[in-house]
């Protein structure tokens, strides 16, 4: 079923590092534009929004890995950790930009925002939930936690839903761009609900089992 030529194994590690490098380019370019006065109007907000949007994109991509493998037979599971960590780094930068460049570390205002504004509360909750996932993204944690790792990392479903909601609630009018992410996240989450049924039908196919939790469906 795989239509793409498989990447030779010797390039796997390099391709993952390339993904990290390419993945950080939007942030680097946005920062360059902002720092050199090339972002129009409200540069801090522009940069903040760019970071948030890319965080959501990487979350969606990370969630798309296992459906792509199941439905199209293309195994990109090796990129999932990088995508998840990129999402984490972007959310962290998004929050730091808000905290430092936007609010100048005015903690009273920041805490009020987090406590009083539902969309910020939701965004903050997503960020907090991402922290344990980032901390346990290493192979050692995967081995150590075993099945609990899989359960813990199911938090990403809630995080992605929070991310799409945060985006939609932040704007004055929910437009096509916000709907796109809501629909993508809903489809990706719905896939997890119907997956057991799909699996049931395909019982004849040998299940791809693996020792490493990373390779499991999450």
């Amino acid at each position: 079923m795989a239509g793409l030529p498989a990447l030779p194994r010797k390039y796997h590690a390099a391709s993952i590092w390339l993904l990290y490098a390419v993945g950080l380019l939007p942030a680097a370019y946005g920062f360059y534009l902002g720092a050199t006065g090339r972002l129009p109007g409200n540069p801090v907000k522009e940069f903040e929004h760019l970071l948030g949007l890319w965080a959501l994109r990487f979350l969606v991509l990370a969630l798309a890995i296992s459906p792509i493998r199941d439905l199209f037979g293309i195994n990109w599971v090796r990129y999932r950790r990088a995508l998840g960590l990129l999402a984490f780094w972007y959310v962290l930068m998004h929050f730091l930009t808000y905290m430092v460049l936007d609010q100048y570390l005015n903690f009273a205002a920041i805490i009020t925002d987090i406590a009083k504004r539902p969309f910020i509360t939701i965004g903050m909750a997503a960020f907090v939930m991402l922290i344990p996932l980032a901390l346990t993204s290493n192979n050692w944690s995967i081995r150590k936690l075993g099945p609990r790792w899989v359960r813990l990392h199911k938090l990403v479903y809630i995080i992605a839903a929070c991310g799409a909601l945060h985006f939609a609630m932040a704007v004055k009018v929910v437009g096509p761009e916000q709907w796109l992410y809501i629909v993508l996240v809903l489809l990706l989450l719905a896939y997890r609900l119907i997956r057991p049924m799909l699996r049931g039908k395909k019982r004849a196919r040998p299940q791809a089992t693996s020792v490493r939790g990373q390779e499991r469906s999450a």
Binding site: N42, P43, D113, K116, F119
Partner: protein
């Protein structure tokens, strides 16, 4: 085109927001919801010829040609502009007091409000056509008659010494500096005097977030963000401090607070 105007007494003593920011960073949902959409999508808009119909509870209803309005004594007014999204600018408008136009049509005694309406031209305004339309059209706004008659309330026909660029509401728009920017309805085709509070578009869209009065008030937060401070566009850049405290009535409290004496500004936001 260049536009001449006399200086007025209404000159805010603050650094002007660069013309480039004033004309390329703004909301005008008829051309799209992004801040850069108006400047990008308004090039095909035809701001001339133009007429503004003034009717309703008036003695002399009339349809004014744009030339007639441009012939009124024009003044330059440097006003603060505070967007409901917590950013602000300082803008040199050119225009005339709204009261000057109202006087020409002689409002009747039972007129209590002034309703405004923006043009609907889906073929020239991409935000008004297609599958996704962010707001119901036409965009409508309103003022109480005493607010409309206040000397600070103007109809602007120019900015930065020139006629209004399409993206800023050509050829004629409302500027009410003590209210949030969305009250400043653009590309006006109709003004109607009424005895009932007229609808306003953002209030129709989310009445818990945008009130009819929409007076700038640092004490009353938007449900989703604080209104206590604002980002001054074009200042501070990326690392510098461009956040400043928001002033009651956007700094025009001395002139306009009297319009609202005895009113609960929290309930009438």
């Amino acid at each position: 085109a260049p536009l001449t105007a006399s200086k007025s007494q209404y000159m805010v003593d603050e650094t002007l927001t660069p013309e480039k920011d004033v004309t390329s960073y703004n909301n005008f949902y008829e051309f799209g919801t992004g801040k850069g959409d108006p400047v990008a999508n308004a090039t095909d808009f035809k701001a001339t010829p133009w007429t503004v119909k003034v009717d309703g509870l008036v003695g002399k209803p009339k349809e004014f040609g744009l030339e007639e309005l441009l012939a009124l004594p024009l003044e330059e007014r440097v006003y603060r502009m505070r967007c409901v999204e917590a950013w602000s600018m300082v803008i040199p408008w050119i225009g005339f007091p709204l009261a000057a136009l109202l006087d020409k049509v002689e409002p009747l005694g039972d007129a209590k409000y002034v309703a405004f309406e923006t043009v609907v031209r889906p073929e020239e305004m991409p935000g008004q056509s297609g599958f996704f339309q962010p707001l119901p059209w036409p965009y409508v706004e309103g003022l109480r008659l005493d607010e409309a008659r206040h000397p600070l309330a103007i109809l602007a026909v120019g900015v930065y010494g020139k006629t209004l660029p399409n993206q800023n509401g050509a050829p004629i728009r409302l500027v009410v500096p003590w209210k949030y920017g969305f009250k400043g309805i653009k590309s006006i085709v109709r003004i109607t005097l009424t005895d009932k509070q007229p609808p306003s578009t953002w209030n129709l869209s989310a009445s818990n977030e945008y009130g009819f009065y929409a007076n700038v008030n640092p004490e009353v937060d938007h449900p989703r963000w604080s209104q206590a401070s604002e980002n001054r566009i074009g200042e501070g850049g990326f690392f510098g401090a461009n956040r400043r405290p928001t002033l009651p009535f956007n700094g025009y409290a001395e002139e306009v607070a009297g319009l609202y004496s005895g009113m609960d500004l929290r309930a009438n936001f």
